[in-house]
Symmetry: C2
Subunit: 310 residues, 2 copies
């Protein structure tokens, strides 16, 4: 099933109710899809500025992409083999005026109207780093230092409806991407994992760095997850928001030559570039801060506020 998500714990349900009651989140009627008020957004935007500022200070160039990805790129990426249950595709109307009228009538009665819809050339954005690789590949061979891209807090989609407020169907994933020589890329990933850990601890969060795996689909996925852990390709920063399990606030991913080979990104010497990316989940970090320091950011500890309001 595509919606095979664990039910929320009583603590998660209570925290979601508190966030909605305080008006920080706005219920849209579908689990995992929420609006934000000005208080929530203020914290989130200051976090985004802080992350982009840290990246800019280390030479990152800013690129920004919309929340949709060409379907052809999704098809070529291998994402559907690993995460078929999470991907979203975009459909639109295909038909004549009579069919448009039928579609509208059915929809207004909340009856099925999918027979009038056809797959478009677009999918929802599965991960914010995906559009970066072809954009860099289009420039030709890399310079000697490679590239460091700040893709900002982009919207990404995961089809996993849940009543855990930390598990959204659509959320801001702040992606930083490094493309370059194998050693430089691996070192960058390690440095940023430590920097991310220090940053989140400086915000008063009880954060831990650990080896992790992606939520690969099915039986084959269990083997992929074991390999990923064995080769230490994914690290995560974990915080307990509403237990029992900790929540990943950030992940640090080493792709080796997967994306370099897929998009033909080459180093100055003609060999295939390696890549790594890291993603900070804006909403999860804001939720961890609200859970740890309370629902009123005005009253957070001065040391925490000094890290964001500066």
């Amino acid at each position: 099933m595509a919606t095979d998500t664990a039910p929320p714990t009583p603590g998660q349900e209570r925290f979601l109710a508190e966030l909605l009651e305080a008006g920080l989140l706005l219920d849209c009627g579908v689990p995992g899809v929420y609006g934000h008020d000005a208080v929530f957004e203020d914290v989130r935007e200051r976090l985004a500025d802080r992350l982009s500022g840290e990246a800019a200070a280390r030479g990152a160039q800013r690129l920004r992409f919309p929340p949709v990805l060409p379907r052809r790129q999704l098809e070529s990426s291998g994402y559907l083999a690993s995460f078929p249950h999470l991907a979203g595709t975009v459909y639109s109307f295909s038909g004549d005026e009579r069919q448009a009228a039928q579609q509208s009538e059915r929809a207004a009665e909340h009856q099925p109207w999918d027979e009038f819809q056809a797959m478009t050339e677009l999918s929802l954005m599965p991960a914010a780093c995906y559009p970066v690789y072809p954009a860099i590949a289009a420039r030709g061979a890399l310079g000697p230092d490679g590239v460091f891209v700040d893709a900002g807090g982009a919207w990404v989609f995961r089809h996993e409806p849940s009543l855990d407020p930390a598990r959204r169907q659509i959320f801001h994933q702040h992606e930083l991407v490094r493309i370059g020589a194998p050693d430089a890329v691996l070192q960058w990933r390690e440095e940023w994992a430590q920097r991310g850990l220090e940053l989140l601890r400086s915000l008063g969060l009880d954060a831990e760095l650990d080896v992790a795996n992606d939520p690969f689909f099915g039986r084959r996925g269990r083997m992929l997850a074991q390999n990923q852990r064995g080769e230490r390709l994914k690290l995560e920063i974990l915080v307990v928001i509403e237990g029992p399990e900790p929540t990943a606030l950030a992940s640090f991913n080493h792709h080796r030559d997967h994306f370099g080979g897929l998009y033909g990104i080459t180093l100055a010497d003609g060999t295939t570039a390696h890549t790594a990316c890291l993603g900070f989940g804006h909403e999860r970090i804001v939720l961890a801060l609200l859970r740890t320091h309370g629902l009123l950011p005005d009253r957070w500890p001065a040391a925490v506020r000094a890290q964001l309001w500066r």
Copy 2:
């Protein structure tokens, strides 16, 4: 046909090529879907700050929503009767492990795989004001002054692939929404149409305000368009970016009691609230500025820069 869009003019094609060559836009491989570089985004973000600043100075409260809308809300809104050709819906995988493997194989070969996808509870966001109405309705009856919401530069989707760089499939629509008594709402719409015109002229754009209509679908749509014009329900600010036709940079829409009735938004006296919204197209305004003042914002006239970099 859903993709019945006019072909671009030679001038539009040339302007698009210049924007891509300069790196301001990043080609994603699908018409009307582009990334932005830091120069483009800097102008866009300063424009967004300026618009939100003008709204905040007049008492707007900030709310922010994701680029997807519950499908049920789309179904109830009447959007599919008026714009079936523009709406996007979100599908995702439905099936077992064997089907997931088939889907992945088909997709990797760029063969059809839509048989494995089913409609979800979500659609793409058709207009950035849509989630505002139920969020305000959920608060109960309005106070005497009603509500003014700044929904920010939210992502909206229109399925109209085009090589005109000013016609995107996905773009930032900066929506301001007024909900209140009939007279107050109409007056707000008129004031903001003038304020928007002055703002865009202060940026050196040769902007005109005019009565307009939405791109309603089909034969019935022509009648809806005539009615909309006759009742002056939609105003637009128009600028020639790449002719021959001018492009709408902003629109100012009076809904009378449509959304108030749909979502049960009531005034203090129990009568149905009226609503109006206005949308500034971030990308179109940035494109108009780049076309008018050149592709290097650093060299724009000082009077223009002073309006945004202040």
